[in-house]
């Protein structure tokens, strides 16, 4: 696990950010930086604000207080330096597209008109498909693919603009172990070879422990950031949750257990 903290080239900076809806505070006092090429994993229970933070960085939300800078500018929509891959879903209607069509959206889905096929475009898409190891099923209808395969397509789509920051929202959810591993290796490979910073939201740190640089743990409106050893401890988490939480290490894995039932 290489430490990129000495590179210290911040691409995202958050200072005392607060997000609240009416009386409901989702995030407060969030200050952190993301450096170039860093692999950061976001953890925390549902509703803790993980997706909200992603939306903030994507320019879909404005903070109620504090400063946000992405690539030294305030966040804006349609920033091609950020790639975003949401969680995959299985849709019946996905008979409508082939895999390569879905990936192609990443290139020009936002341009007017129906688009004209070009060799350059096909080459770029083929390249992206190759990178996520999806060439085999490039022409299959999406609805026929498994969750892991769809997730790879979504990642390929996000990579087409050659982003410097990759946001992944729960890419490992509802995947079985082998597919989970595939996605983890894929994302790690992309992070290291392309020097892309990765911010990955998930529920379970364990598949990612070997690859992760820092962990951002969010709960109860508060957050803690640092290496897994610093953040995922009984003390830190108890502070975050405001009640007693135990972190148990067993079989090379970390388990978080609440003390009360």
């Amino acid at each position: 696990m290489t430490s990129v903290l000495d590179k210290n080239n911040p691409i995202v900076q958050l200072e005392q950010v607060r997000i609240q809806y009416g009386k409901r505070i989702i995030l407060q006092d969030l200050s952190m930086t993301i450096n170039e090429g860093e692999f950061i994993v976001m953890l925390g229970p549902n509703g803790a604000g993980k997706s909200t933070l992603l939306k903030l960085l994507l320019g879909l939300l404005r903070p109620s207080a504090g400063q946000v800078r992405v690539f030294d500018r305030p966040p804006s929509r349609g920033n091609r330096e950020i790639g975003y891959a949401p969680q995959h879903r299985t849709l019946e209607a996905d008979l409508a597209l082939r895999a390569r069509d879905l990936v192609g959206f990443g290139l020009d889905g936002h341009r007017w008109g129906p688009g004209w096929p070009s060799r350059k475009r096909t080459a770029l898409i083929d390249q992206a498909l190759e990178e996520v190891d999806a060439t085999r099923f490039a022409d299959a209808p999406i609805g026929q693919l498994s969750g892991g395969e769809q997730q790879r397509l979504l990642i390929a789509q996000a990579l087409l603009t050659n982003p410097r920051l990759l946001l992944l929202d729960e890419p490992l959810a509802s995947l079985d172990i082998s597919h989970e591993q595939e996605i983890v290796s894929l994302v790690t490979r992309i992070c290291r070879t392309r020097h892309v910073a990765v911010l990955l939201v998930t529920h379970d740190i364990n598949p990612l422990l070997p690859a992760v640089d820092r962990v951002l743990y969010m709960a109860n409106g508060h957050s803690a950031i640092g290496t897994p050893d610093e953040v995922i401890t009984s003390t830190t988490l108890s502070q975050l949750y405001g009640s007693s939480v135990e972190v148990v290490q067993a079989l090379d894995r970390l388990f978080v257990v609440g003390a009360e039932i």
Binding site: Y241, S243, F255, V256
Partner: protein
């Protein structure tokens, strides 16, 4: 003033068709209200719509063949219910397939209708099936409805608890030994009856107002099954009797009863939507604590 008003009603009720209408309405209302509760609970409102549309083809086909359209409707809806029961869970979420079958059934109905009316018969029969014919209900119809209603309610009463359980939590119910699949099929058959009865009052196209609206409104206002069912029945009775009363009191020679019923239904449903929004605006849900997440991994 009141005297003339009462006089008006007394004269009205001397007509048999008025009596029949006011008799048929509560019979149908009770059945549809209770069945509707389960339909909404099981998220099967499309099934009611489908049965009605397919029944339309049956009703008009029967008219062409010279049989009573009520009988044709019953037969067709029962067959359709069996078909749907056989397909089982595979139907869920298949909006496109269901829509195509519905439309085709409606197309068949239209076909039979145009054949029927071309042979010189009265064009308003079709309108009756589509929009309700409560004012042309005969004593026999009332009797038939009563009998089917009683049978339906009896079966429902017997199956009440297992059906409720299977509707809310089919997986656990199955594990407890309840024959969920069989119950689904029986339920669909009962729904066929209920739908046919609703069509009698309000027609194929407006079935939702009597089959779904009372129950949907009730379920917005309370979570407890028995209360919801009673409320649903009260609402259905108000819609149907209310619709009849408004029709007789209101517009001139044409009496669009089904309009009033659908208007009352829409009004109460949206009122209940409003009320439930006011009661609990997007509530703040307590964040899950690790202890409540069983043993979660970090």
């Amino acid at each position: 003033m009141i005297n003339t008003f009462l006089q008006y009603w007394v004269t009205l009720f001397q007509h048999e068709f008025v009596q029949n209408a006011f008799l048929a309405a509560p019979i149908v209302a009770v059945v549809t209200a209770i069945m509707g509760y389960f339909v909404v609970l099981r998220a099967q409102s499309f099934a009611g719509e489908a049965l009605a549309d397919i029944g339309f083809a049956g009703a008009t086909g029967a008219a062409v063949l010279g049989i009573s359209s009520l009988v044709g409707m019953f037969i067709m809806t029962l067959l359709a219910a069996l078909g749907m029961g056989a397909l089982g869970e595979r139907i869920r979420g298949r909006d496109v397939e269901i829509g195509m079958v519905l439309s085709f059934a409606l197309g068949l109905g239209v076909l039979f209708l145009s054949i029927y009316t071309q042979n010189g018969a009265n064009a308003t029969v079709g309108v009756g099936v589509l929009f309700g014919s409560i004012l042309s209900v005969t004593r026999t119809d009332v009797l038939v409805s009563l009998i089917t209603a009683l049978v339906t309610l009896l079966v429902l009463a017997l199956l009440f608890r297992p059906l409720l359980f299977a509707s809310i939590d089919p997986v656990v119910a199955q594990a407890r030994g309840i024959p969920v699949r069989l119950l689904s099929i029986i339920f669909l058959l009962l729904l066929a009856f209920a739908t046919a009865e609703a069509v009698l009052v309000i027609g194929v196209l407006l079935v939702f107002s009597l089959l779904i609206a009372p129950a949907a409104t009730a379920e917005r206002l309370t979570r407890r099954p028995l209360t919801a069912i009673i409320l649903s029945v009260i609402l259905a009775l108000s819609f149907s009797w209310g619709g009849l009363i408004l029709a007789f009191v209101g517009t001139g020679s044409h009496l669009p009863v089904s309009f009033y019923i659908s208007a009352l239904a829409a009004l109460s449903y949206f009122l209940s939507l409003l009320m439930s929004r006011l009661q609990s605006p997007r509530g703040y849900r307590a964040l899950p604590h690790p202890s409540r997440e069983q043993t979660a991994t970090a």
